[in-house]
Symmetry: C2
Subunit: 333 residues, 2 copies
DNA sequence: GGTTAAAATTGAATCGATTCATTCTACATA
DNA sequence: TATGTAGAATGAATCGATTCAATTTTAACC
């Protein structure tokens, strides 16, 4: 079936130890032997068995990445960043999709433990990720992704979601809006909660009141449904801020279907600034997050933790969101 | 660090063989012992080391999935299908992104060999995936994804891209269009080539000539660039068919920027029917492919191949594409 | 040629779960 | 009491790469 190091050794007339040295410490092998063994490796098409290697070493060069929804372009970008950075350092990545379900998340964590991953990058589904601490005892590093932690036993890479919420509402207020609806997902999602906090902060300062519409899932269909609720509000808002772009695109569709003009009759802001925001019916104003950077930073952080061990200092990296103005917002009528 | 089976055995006062039996053949263990050992496993938080297990077994329960672009929602959907199906059967999946580069693809194949994956699902970047045959000698099953194969040593799951190209042009011709532009990617991408064949087939039948615009990468920016080329055509087409939705969205933006109205002045069809096609500036008519199904089918196929071994009969599954009509197409002016 | 230090090579032990031939137990039957 | 048998439990050998103490080879010098 597959060629083992032992066979290479036999064929090249050297010991297994030497072949191992050729692979891992070529500098201690004589030039002649090195060349001969390398040729044999090539001839036989030998690829070392990562299982055996890591079984002995006690750890692997694989990472796990658990995100709530790969179908969301924001997380796809994050995943690309993680992958690129990991692959550059010789790490392979298991990508898992928790679908915002705590149960699925736990299942995947177990799978990843079995696979002996060296570290797990996770955007946890529940607010209090205490169960993650247990991983550390297993020697598995954990870095929170798109989520801040107060715990000093983990790294985290996040974007300032409170500030993001603030920026959005500040911008709308500056435009002159005073009746604003905030379409958000479950309070249990920390990103949503934080953006909501930002919304409230600014609302207080500007002494306006903001209507909260809560959807159960952050997808386009739910966004479309939210429109009905918005339109039945006692006082019609002049602007809508959505917890992410996907929901915003749903809301947009709902509004346009009912003949409501954007931005003339209703301004609309999303969150994430996914690539498709530009191609939307009305190019969508949004709060941009450095998704790819988020992925890269988190992968580098966790790999550094894996390799430096004790010498590693846990870090909390926080990126800043940015307002990207497009056609879906303007002054209220 | 991590608890080994040996420690469980010691603590439960049984032999390692018995613990192993508890895990893999509980029916041969007496009820009393079974319970005691299971309790110990729980107490100690023991999770079997997949490396050691698979090293001995000679194979793993992991699959590799190599796609040209995870950022493309079509492939994201495929990946979800693969993941769901694999996870249901207890398999973990490495997701790799080849970026349409043969070099990256080869690099990932090597990584996957090292990780001892049981099978690889791949949408190959080059047309003649001869190098994949070599994987079979390693005992790694290979299933082509979104790509047909004539080779009877592999399974394949694909969508009839020729038919897809035909459907699109047939529809445009039926509407009355006779001047059509076909915006496609590199000829080296088989899906593109096949769709092109479909385009040509129908063009011949209807005796119309179709202008081919080739972009180097299948992304929105390239689509936008293609518009310049289209508009400089000696005879302006009345309809454009794009090789995928992402490119189509780019073309749409390019057209709208220049004040060309869709569909009044120009009809536009995409391919893939990604979720965002609905939310586009002009909801996009597209050729739908059962992406999720594609993923599920391919994962089930390869797992069946892995587990049945010789008894497995290689299959070529082919799905049919479907026309989804939205607002971006109508009769020519 | 002899001595010694440095360089190169060797190969048995190891990682942890599985396998399977062997041993042990319990219990029914002669 | 002796015998047979099914059921349960055992533990050494195994998978393949790595490690490292021990050994062999090479080079350098007097």
């Amino acid at each position: 079936m597959s060629v083992s190091l032992r066979e290479v050794a036999a064929r090249a007339q050297v010991s297994v130890g030497t072949v191992s040295n050729v692979l891992n410490r070529p500098e201690v092998v004589s030039a002649l032997t090195l060349e001969r063994v390398q040729k044999t490796i090539k001839d036989l098409g030998f690829v070392p068995n990562a299982f055996a290697r890591h079984l002995r070493a006690g750890f692997s060069r694989t990472l796990g990445l658990i995100v709530p929804d790969v179908a969301n372009p924001f997380f796809t970008e994050v995943a690309r960043g993680v992958e690129d950075a990991a692959s550059k350092r010789g790490y392979a990545v298991f990508l898992c999709n928790s679908d915002e379900s705590v149960k699925k998340e736990e299942k995947y964590i177990n799978v990843l433990i079995q696979q002996q991953v060296r570290g797990i990058l996770i955007t946890p589904s529940n607010r209090d990720p205490a169960h993650l601490e247990a991983l550390l005892d297993r020697g598995i590093a954990v870095t929170l992704l798109d989520r801040e932690t107060k715990s000093r036993t983990q790294c985290s890479v996040s974007v300032d979601d409170i500030r993001g919420g603030e920026i959005a509402i500040e911008y709308l207020v500056t435009l002159g809006h005073r009746d604003i609806a905030w379409v958000c997902g479950p309070e249990s999602i920390p990103q949503v909660a934080d953006r909501g906090t930002g919304v409230t902060n600014v609302a207080k300062l500007a002494s306006i009141s903001i209507k909260t519409i809560r959807v159960t899932l952050m997808n386009a269909v739910q966004g479309e449904h939210a429109v009905t609720e918005i339109l039945s509000l006692p006082k019609l808002p002049t602007a809508i801020f959505c917890a992410n772009d996907i929901v915003a695109l749903g809301v947009m569709r709902g509004l346009l279907d009912r003949g409501i003009r954007i931005p003339e009759q209703m301004s609309l802001i999303g969150y994430d600034d996914i690539a498709f925001a530009t191609s939307a019916a009305i190019p969508l104003t949004s709060i941009a997050q450095p998704a790819y950077q988020l992925g890269v930073a988190s992968a580098e952080l966790i790999i550094s933790e894996c390799e430096k061990g004790e010498a590693h200092a846990h870090q909390q990296i926080k990126f800043q969101p940015k307002l990207v103005i497009r056609a879906s917002t303007q002054k209220p009528a």
